[in-house]
Amino acid sequence: MLSVGPRQTLRIYLALLVVCFLSLTAAGQLDDPDPNSPTPILVRAKNSKRVLAVPADTGARAEIVSPSRDAFAPGARIAVFVTGISLMDGEGANAFRVYAEDSRGRKYRFPVVDLYRIKSPSPTYALVFQLRDEIGYWDAPAAGDLLLRVSWRGMTSDRSRIGYGVTGGPIKDDQVPYSRLFTYSLNNGLPAKSKGLDEPAYAGYRWSGDRMRFLQQASFGATEPLDQRIRRIGIRTWLAEQFEAPYPSATNAFPDIPLKPSTAPADCDNNQTVPDVPVTCFRDTYTMYPLQAWFFREAYYGDAQLRHRVAWALGQIWVISGVDTQQSRHMIEWYKVLSNNAFGNYRTLMKEMTLNPGMGNYLDMVRSTRTNPNENYARELKQLFTIGLFMLNQDGTLQLDGNGQPIPTYDQEGVNNFTKVLTGWNFCNNGCPNSAPGVVNYIDPIIINAGRTTPGANQHDLTAKTLLAYPGSTTTNIAACTGTCDDSIASINTYATNSLEQTLDNIFYHPNVGPFVSKILIQHLVTSDPTPAYVGRVTAVFNDNGAGVRGDLKSVIRAILIDPEARGDVKTDPNFGKLREPVQLMTNVARTFNVTNAAGTGPSDGVFYSPTNNLMTTMAQTAFYAPTVFNYYSPDYVIPGTTLLGPEFALMTTGTAIARANFANTMVYNRINASGTNVPVGTAFQYGDMQALAAEDLTGGLLLDALNYKMLHGSMSTEMRNTILTAVTSLPTTSTLQRAQQAVYLVATSSQFQIQR
């Protein structure tokens, strides 16, 4: 079975070879190389729907030989053969995933353990995996044939049979090759003469699907102008522009709110017994309203889209919440730390967050003292913000001990030690630029021993602390401060500040930080369940940006967005993509349809609710109101019934599914009307361009082409298109606006659009 002896004639049978070659003859810019990775081909046995597979138990290298084996014992190591691909340097086994489905329709993932090139005329690889589910959602597969497929860079092979224990059983072959199920129906982009476009020369074919996909990942919504700009300058240049773009927009400065006393004065307490001055004083001072409205305006109209998007993602790692932090002003400084450091260094972000007064309040660090330590921040700093609970490999997968169990990164004793280091910090209510009598200073960083002048008043724990020990760790303990710390509060403060730096370094250089942070950022921007190889490539950049710098987020973000697993016109892997979180859903649709105020005469006010219909809350994501420090959803959430990570699906319930449809109904058939002082000018989406297309083409074809391009980057299936066309053409040809609305509603509410892929 294993060919380790004399070379045998190599025979590769490609029963199904479906590779789409895009025409390279079209005129277009060449700034960006072809973003499309080829489709992996899983080699089949001759004239068979059965995968060509051989045992790989011995550890010897398998070669393609005949006959292949039909059935394998559960747990066996098996080699199958993949061709049609072209690997980058260092790209190996962890770039591949092997999925199978059994006759009960249950899906499994088998651990890939090896990949190596075999001797063959065209590049062909043996992919070794174990016939054992690695997810554990279901019990073992049902005995009999499974349908097996291999995915790589978001592309999937067709499915072939493999016997699990025995061959046969009730499973059915795919009736359509898997690689054709994801059609790419927008063959030529938009018709060149379509009225919906301003640029007559716009033809929009070459990689236009990838540009729109890219923009869905890198902004709060793809738009035609951005697509055209990237077509001219390329993705890399656009990224470079974005890294330098002023933020926030000149016309949308951060809300300027003064710090106010913790108890609202009578003329600003939302109680008109003493009239509030102005009448909106309470709202503008004590609620999250100004920050929320600012955030949505920036998402709609801002030029620094990427920084806004990355800051929003980082804010779902370093969570603080309006549930506790009730004044926008208390949260704005936190958001500035996020946005200032979105393309900065993670180590700087760690320090600025640790000393951020909003965070200090939210996770109680400002209340943690030598005598009354509070471990809240110390715990979450490690668990949620930097290293996570378990030791990770550099590709983000769990390290396992000899018993197959994950290895904790720290224990309670570790939390206690870090708690000690972080004692004694408090608001700077005296002597800082924004200190003022009677208010808590939520602007300047918190300081050590605020207001304490003598060693006896010290609040910082001076005992010895043990830090994290890990492969490569340097300083793993902090000595007790004796002697000098008896002398003056200044020496204590120096000790505490140095201890903080040592501790943050100790965490920052932990090997988990790269994979932990990289994977979450990938999940926020590109795909919920990235391959380990993708995580590993980004981690490598986190660890060293090429100039010897660790933690350079600009390089990390670039690596995430230009990775071959992210790029391409269309992804065929059924497990590629992510559910649009409600904020993305709202802003993506808004930007697609030229969001304006309710009257259509100017910009929206950014208020995404009306007094009777809080669109954010009903979809379970009120901006800046994460329910807990664990964010709106966990990065580890697995979609019920699947083997698939899908964090945002934690927000997808029967209730919010309908709320999403009702959001579309409101914004397609109605608007958020201006209402009193709380909704100054309202919000509407504009469908005039779509109406014009409905009028121009009474078959509805142009309308559907445009929506396919704008919302689904050309990935709309023929079946979906026909279904929507039926509903569109049921309306009279003269009802052009209603036809446009019908089509927009159906795309916006479709599951296909709920998923960013």
Binding site: R367, P640, G641, T653, N662
Partner: protein, 492 residues
Amino acid sequence: MNESRREFLRKSGGCALGMVTLATQMQHFGLMSALAQKTGKGGNSPQGGENYKALVLVFMSGGTDGNNMVVPNHNDATLSNYTAYANLRSNLAIAQGSLLPISVPRMGNLTYGLHPSLGPGTTNNGIHELWAQQRLAIVTNVGTLVRPTTKAQMTQSSHPKPYQLYSHSDQVAQYQTSISNTQAFTGWGGRVSDKLTASSNPNGLIPMVTSIAGSQLFTSGQATLPMAINDSNTSLANVLNPSGFTNSSNGGPARLTAFNDLRDIDLQSNFVAAASHVTELAMQANAALQSPGDTTVTFPNTSIGRQLRQVARLIKRRTELNVNRQIFYCQIGGFDTHTNQINNQANLLGQLGQAVRSFYDEISTQGAINDVTLFTLSDFSRTMNPAGAGTASVGSDHAWGNHMFVLGGAVAGGNFYGMNTATNGTPYPQLVLAGQDDADNGSNARGRWIPTTSVEQYAATLARWFGLAEADMASVFPNLPNFPTTDLGFMT
């Protein structure tokens, strides 16, 4: 047969590929019974509302301080008494005179005290008086455990312990999954539903499990996808009702047809299929929720009050919805009282007591109180030793073993339940810092009680009453065989 069901059949029959993939998805999400019903199978099944039982979970999110919910109110020197409590709690101690007394047979009829907020409030008399009526039981010192664990075993690395003690997300997960030795994808409510849906709710028009507090691990099984709906501020008829489809002047009916048809397309993507499936469930449930009827008892207008009122509305409709078993998830948040605990916990427990009593009265009015059991869980308890100083700002940190409330007509109320500690031979822990019941050691010990009763023992007792077969116990509660008893006796 309602519109969406007809639609469903038509679509399924209309496209061979769609049928296969849809059937696959349906199987994944445990709707095969529903599919079978639509195709005329399963006609000999029990009618909804007969032999009805419901479990109602109230999760006290953030980790409620059990030390101040159930307090020793006696002066017996042989057990931890009020003085021992007050000394350790310092500024967190509740004045002895304000505790609501309960007599505990299990403790030799000594008096303990409930938190004062569990008595009369602005809406009703609260839950304290249900103790004397033997409708309220307390299961003491419950917590996440892999095996029974002593103080000595805490330091033995070979002794399996729950992963990430004192961490919110992990401990919440362990309470909700019941599994403490490894991360798990399914909750015990969902797994109970997996086992019972086919036999108990074969024709159910909504899933067995309903969350009024969003998506929760507790509610997810291998084959169970729960229904999640808003609280009673939204009527049941509107809770899952999509807008706009009835407007025929702008093509609403055609839009609805396409909206439904699109859910059968492009299901090769597992993400698209998952989104479509949730929406499909919502549309089916919506059709079933259109019949009228409301609660009659006054509920407090708090989040937990509105959640429990929504549960009561669904229970009232159990016959129309064709369900014989239901599991509900409600949640009251804010118990993570590192600071300002005295006021905050009092406020929250007041909301809890008032809402639960309204629920109890409403279900009694419905004649179903013997069929409905409400019980509590929380992340963990909190340190006996306070965090911070002062009387207003004092709080407490994350700890472990906690006291749970169980309430209903089928509860053997008026007593403590749970395993005895080795220290004092009772189910109430010995209140001594660094003592034999404290997981902490040394002079910095905070008082984090090592649980004597596992979440699984507690859950299994409820699940047995609910109808889970003995043969299914070990698969639903995998670590249960590690414990000496699987029935704590608080259900009659």
